[in-house]
Symmetry: C2
Subunit: 285 residues, 2 copies
């Protein structure tokens, strides 16, 4: 069932709650791929009813980012959801979520702001305000859908950590379910932004997973010095790659690591053919 109005979703969820059914939420920006599908399948397995939100959230895009050209494939998304046991596809307009365009700055809109320590690193450093927009919209979706469980991919690992922190800090009554990264056979992490890549670009994009896998191999061989592990990356980089960061952080609290351990997550962001891609790996898995 495709719904566009907040009030329609509320009404349906209320009825489910009356029946004692559990509700799962999979928040997405649409352009659904196999990564999303894995979240959806997990949600359908775990919950009586599943809501997939499809909303390209304007307030999480920074000036100059790809808000306008971000892929929008609602018809295909809805079909995928319907075919896989989703009860509601919730696809609101920006106006439904935020009122008119005047309402979207911190001068006129209440924001949920994650802690500076969690934001001032990795993607948050170059995407200023991005996670404020993410937390605000996810908070809104939680309040609209009131899910028992919400499903997020490990692909956006910083986002997942920040959402978990928000849930803890604000006592939100939802359980966050993290889901593993889904990869193409080549190793490339699934992403809606992969649609921007040609076949040639996709080969160059393997640099992210190659660097991460190689670091993990080195770690398993006993190298734990982060500077030494970072240096193993350069052999994979060429002029097609514009490395933004390669960093080692605690997988739970994002503290930066000098010595890697099993709970260290390695984060990478790299532009390939002008497309900004991210990936990450947990060393202890």
């Amino acid at each position: 069932m495709l719904l566009h109005k907040i009030s329609e979703v509320r009404e349906q969820v209320k009825e489910w709650k009356r029946q004692g059914l559990t509700v799962g939420l999979v928040p997405t920006m649409g352009a659904l791929h196999a990564g999303h599908l894995s979240l959806i399948k997990k949600a359908v397995e775990k919950c009586d009813r599943v809501v997939v939100s499809v909303f390209v959230n304007p307030i999480q895009f920074c000036p100059g980012e790809d808000l306008d050209k971000y892929p929008r494939t609602l018809e295909a998304d809805t079909k995928l959801c319907n075919d896989n046991g989703v009860s509601i596809v919730f696809a609101p307009t920006p106006n439904e979520m935020y009122g008119d365009g005047q309402m979207r700055t911190n001068d006129t809109l209440t924001y949920v702001i994650p802690p500076f320590f969690y934001v001032n690193t990795l993607c948050g450093k170059s995407r200023v305000g991005h996670f404020d927009g993410v937390c605000t919209v996810v908070n809104k979706l939680f309040n609209i859908v009131q899910p028992d469980y919400a499903f997020f991919g490990q692909k956006d690992a910083q986002q997942l950590i920040i959402i978990k922190k928000m849930v803890q800090d604000l006592n939100i009554p939802v359980e966050i379910v993290p889901c593993p990264i889904v990869r193409e056979e080549s190793g490339l992490a699934m992403s809606s932004r992969n649609k921007y890549l040609s076949e040639e670009d996709k080969k160059e994009a393997l640099v992210l997973s190659k660097i991460l896998n190689n670091i993990k191999t080195c770690y398993k061989k006993g190298i734990t010095n982060v500077e030494a592990l970072k240096e193993t990356a350069f052999q994979f980089l060429n002029s097609h790659h514009d490395l933004e960061y390669l960093e080692f952080h605690d997988a739970d609290n994002l503290e930066e690591k000098q010595i890697a351990d099993a709970n260290t997550r390695v984060f990478i962001a790299c532009k390939v053919a002008g497309v900004r891609l991210i990936d990450n790996i947990l060393l202890g898995e």
Copy 2:
């Protein structure tokens, strides 16, 4: 029933919800007086079950404010609640709400931040960060108690407007019920901070309600120019009074007024004997 743990409150509320009962929340900082009692009575009348939270919220006090000396009277508060049909008095410790003391800055804690336009005026101007703390704790209480209705006094009119805005912006599933200011026979608005005043101070404190009532009288006589209305205040002020602001704003969206109308609210803050007092009046009532 006096509860100190978030988990205990959640469990009780869950049981009520299972029974289909409606839940009301009255958030307070304790030191309950006749103003709070009017909120409690309204809540008990409107809801099947009522939770009164008693929590002196450290993150809404600014440096140099009265956090440590703020009156704490939990035993009397609990008795008042029990005698008036309240089901739960929820009195958490700061640690229960925020973890240890390290967790209370925007470096380490997720905050709910009201719009700058609503904050950069009236009390928000001198109490920097105050409404961030208010919104964050009220958001937490909403998530813990999940009330159908929440009751707030018009005494803190800017707070009420900001909370309503937060509920709207974040789609929080709660109905905010505003309750009129309760006054002593003299006209002094009820406030926990009145405990700081001697009998002499209390007489001087009447300056707030006198100024407001006189402005309303002038408005009813046909004076709508805000500058002219402001000038009527000075006759009431003497060396015991330290006027912080006297302002005219739209009662819903806080826009500042040059010409008063029925939906104009007049806000005043004034220190009397070193105690900061506030009051307000709606001209069209």
